[in-house]
Amino acid sequence: MEKTEKKYKFPIGLAVLSLLVITGLVPAIIRYVSGFGAMSNLNDGRGWGFWISFDLYCGVALAAGGFTLAAIVYVFKLEKYHSVARPAILTAFLGYLLVILALMVDLGQPWYIWHIFVTPNIHSPLFEVGICVVTYTVVLALEFSPALWEALKWNVPMKIIRSIQIPLVIAGICLSTLHQSSLGSMLLIDPTTVNQIWYSPILPILFYCSAIAVGPAMVIFESTLTGKALGHKLKHEVLEGLGKILPWILGAYLALKLGDLILRRDIGLIFTEYPMNILWWVEIIIGVVLPIILLSNKNFRKSDGRLFLGALFVVIGLILNRFNVSIVGMQIRPGYTYFPRWTEIALSIGLFADAMLVIYLANRLLPMGHQEEHAIETH
């Protein structure tokens, strides 16, 4: 009974996703035929627009579930979370692939990206981000590969990966620490254009801290959704455990953020810097204060739906923050305006749909660790 219902439910979802994928291809084709001017509102006053804020800044941060869960399960040895580690690593891997795919359109000459290894500028935070994103994508592919070897029943590669699993996980944590924070360092070069309400010498630390917070939130968010769509149920205590960690990380983040504003003597800006302060308050209330209050309440955490809501607030808050720092709060050159054109957004949504398709297929074809029998796998 249930099975037939599922079979009828999915083709519609798949059709919508495929349509989005195709729509996303249109802007990419225009860009490669006629240039950026024909398909984006980017201009000399705003060299980085929607793509950098959404695909790079939000994409990389939202993929932080990969390294936080890997750390929780393999380094801190909290075995209870084993069942969500594999999906988290897959999401992270896809997230980074999307970042790279997006850059294939966003960069002016992406076929020269290898120059970063030939004539590197080791003082550039973007150099560091570039190197880390490339290396970490490889690490994530290796971390996820056991699912593939398991499905194919290939024992040799499986054994090799198992034997280097811990060094891989630790390398992944190190690389993530570096580039999650360096995305903040990148904006440090704009002390005169990024609004003082967000610009801070500790921006790298703030970026790292908020990435750690959004990692578990993304896992709750995504596990609930895939669970619903694919009809398997995750243990409540796993999601609740993740929800319970969140207020602590968010609390530390809030303390850093306020402490920084106070020490810089800029705390007054949150009352005076109209209209940017409104955006600051929205970001802090939705993404930090509200989840802290809700998720530290034991009764609130009892239901999966409410946990999902709490996690959703954290995710939205992070997206608002990255947009605020990297685009809204950054002064545009005089004489220019920027608002993303539909084609820019369609491209990003198309890439997102690619990832959703892969997640759907992976859950259908690969052992993702949702079922109990896969949780027994040893290492």
């Binding site: 000399d44 380094v75 801190f76 960069l107 000459q109 570096l178 704009d190 220019y336």
Partner: protein, 267 residues
Amino acid sequence: MGKGALYDATKCIGCRACQVACKQWNQMPSRTTTNTGSIENPPQLSAYNYTKIHFTEVENNGKVQWIFNKLQCMHCEHPACVTACPVSALQKQVDGAVTYDDSRCFGCRYCMVACPFGIPTFQWDTPTPWVRKCTFCFDRQSGGLKPACITTCPSGALKFGERDELLAEAHSRINAEPGKYVDHVYGEHEVGGTSWLYLSPVPFETIGFRALQSEPVTENVERAMGYVLPVLGGVAVLMTGIYWVMNRREANKTKTGKKDNGKVVTK
């Protein structure tokens, strides 16, 4: 020390010969523009215009006056674009110019985001775009020539030379006629100093210059990047340590039957 250029707004007549000379030397195509209600043209710097004269009507000593301001790359002493560029396409040359190398760039546009003056531009109209900006005519300078715009300037508003000497001259011009200039050489201290220096009869903010800090904008980035290796080492050690402790604890737990002498060796 490096070369520099001095622009004196009291001497500029707004003829825009510098714009034309720049376009000719760099062999840039002409572009159709529309009337913006001023004879200032083109409206913005672009990948096809590395320099332009900005026109401002201001009241100076009771008279309405046109004050001009030449825009182009400032060739900073501590250039943000050079620090930003991940592939070293942008370089600060020893003699002052900040140059750009097509053969290294991959079009990330971080230089455009980093520049405090908003100078680098991009070729938005081609599928294989490069960044473009004034190179201080590095090619001409290498051959012993002055930059094209300075060579062509008919009114003496532009002067080329050693930056130190031009700075001294700028101050002596101010001291000789204090009423004529505001007591500020723009570019002397802005973002750590720039190769291009400016004199103006009116406060610089009124003719479109940004008021900028005197510390280089690269300061915080350099500090943050200095922490990269220590953080890398620290996180690696910390994570390995935690793993070791947790693994040991787990191993001990599985051996609860036996007596725990703390010498359990884990594989």
